[in-house]
Symmetry: C2
Subunit: 323 residues, 2 copies
């Protein structure tokens, strides 16, 4: 039985990933500070290895494998950044990796996962149950299943980004973190409560997929259909059995933003800060901007989760919203 991770697990994860994951920079923008009358600190996980925070949790989980697990290998299911995080971590650690991906996933993502040495197994997302395929492969070949978010080692690994942020900039008054399945938010919550106990911590979802907000307010995990949103990293249908209790205990509120707001933030990041951020990575900033004067005079953290967006999609989103 897996148990809830604690801040000690985040600290142990930080040790394990040191020298393997980047200690990503914290960026600031005078323009946005003036707009909000606040001091914002952006933790840039788009500049992490393979372009997203997911490398942290994946590497932490795989580096805990024992000799038998390493020989047999890892299996996971993901169409996104977790797939690449596992494939890259496995290749660095010499562990065979099997990644279950939908057959209609972007060719670039399948190619990138294979490029990192992952053995890709395709499935039909309209017929097959990817979790079942993963479990079957694990059982048949003795593989260890590392799911995208609901795993203590994954959650603890993701919490290292927030730990680094607080260590670099000190306590904050408010902190905005993207929310999909809750791996990043629960890990960030552990670091926040340890390092800045009075900081307001917000999870941020796309408006179309507010299962986390519903769950947070009702007190039980709510399942939804796969939401239609450009924030593909937050198209999860439900929180996890491990992520939810921590979120419920340690997070102050769950907020939502629209896709149009995400695009405006993507534009701001590219035009004013010269960085490429994927739509999901804009969730935190969009929510901070919506708060406007409520943040006046405060020190505010924003976690940018990743930058993995095809350039043609990036440009299409920006041109569709041209001001």
């Amino acid at each position: 039985m897996l148990t809830l991770p604690t801040y000690d697990d985040v600290c142990a994860a930080a040790q394990r990933i040191q020298g393997h994951a980047h200690r990503t920079p914290v960026m600031t923008s005078r323009t946005i500070n003036q707009e909000l009358g606040a001091q914002l600190f952006f933790k840039c996980e788009n500049l992490q290895r393979m372009g997203a925070f997911k490398f942290r949790g994946a590497f932490n989980a795989l580096s805990r494998f024992d000799a038998r697990q390493r020989r047999a290998g890892v299996v996971t299911f993901s169409s996104g950044n977790h797939a690449q995080g596992i494939a890259l971590s496995a290749s660095l650690l010499g562990i065979p990796a099997t990644i279950v991906m939908p057959q209609d996933a972007p060719a670039s993502k399948i190619a990138a996962t294979r490029g990192y040495g992952g053995n890709v197994v395709l499935y039909d997302r309209y017929k097959d149950d990817r979790e079942q395929i993963g479990r079957d492969l694990a059982q048949k070949h003795g593989l260890t299943l590392i799911p995208p978010y609901d795993h203590p080692d994954v959650m603890a690994g993701q919490g290292t980004a927030a730990k680094e942020l607080f260590e670099e900039v000190g306590p904050l008054d408010a902190f905005f973190v993207c929310l999909g399945g809750g791996g990043l938010l629960s890990g960030s919550a552990l670091a926040t409560r340890a390092l800045a106990p009075h900081c307001k911590l917000y999870g941020v979802e796309p408006e179309a997929g507010n299962d986390g907000q519903q769950s947070f307010r009702s007190g039980a995990i709510v399942h939804i259909e796969t939401p239609k949103t450009i924030a593909d990293g937050a198209q999860t249908q439900h929180l996890g059995n491990l992520t939810f209790p921590i979120i419920r205990r340690d997070v102050d509120d769950i907020l939502t933003v629209t896709d149009a707001q995400l695009v405006e933030c993507m534009r701001f990041f590219a035009e004013r800060m010269k960085i490429v951020v994927e739509p999901t990575g804009c969730l935190g900033f969009a929510a901070a901007r919506n708060m406007k004067t409520d943040l006046r005079g405060q020190r505010v953290g924003v976690l940018i989760s990743g930058g993995n967006v095809d350039l043609d999609r990036f440009c299409a989103l920006l041109s569709a919203s041209a001001p």
Copy 2:
């Protein structure tokens, strides 16, 4: 009579801009290191204030004004990053700024310059001589003219980026720097010869505008027509009377690259390193990539000069070259 700056002037400039200019990050990419079999260090002046290194030289020059000069104000001519560098520096130092810009400059650049508080004077680039307009305004109103590159304080200020790079990563075997009028290259040369005397130093121009290469090889400043290239920051027609002697003395060679190579580098920066770089900012990297195996085993510096490219233009350039 203005005299050639030395490395001491670069050090003095570094003191003056400290706390005003960003100490920009140095980025690396495992992908490109593998491609070239070398270790590359990218000095990211696209992440500098107002998006380009030009802030360094402008701020250094203006902070040397005496009381009379400060009251009367500064004048310059530029359609690009120098205009914004002067306007921003002047506003920070409380100095009135007049910027002579072509009337067909992108509206966004005129707006940005005005946004920093600059008084913009428009001219017709097909009829008027911008340098003459600048000189006339200077004389009539007692303004101090700070040209875009051929000025010792501008050159010394631009050299602080290379100084920071060497201080952070140590000596290099080769260093690639963009070349327009030579402000950045001459300043970088002073820092390079002081901090890494044996480093090969290359200036890089667009193929269509190789006046610097011609000048370097012939030993006299060559004037050309405004070249047609996407590297708008390197559309200068000639090197300066101050920049050229330093370039001739301290630079190992001047290389050229094509516009298509610039776009491929722009794509790489956005896709793999998640940063927005303007075409001119890609000159150094494009030349390093062209050298390929000649750099094997070496430690290589690349100066990314800026990130100020309209997003619609950025996307148009990338889509026209889609692989």
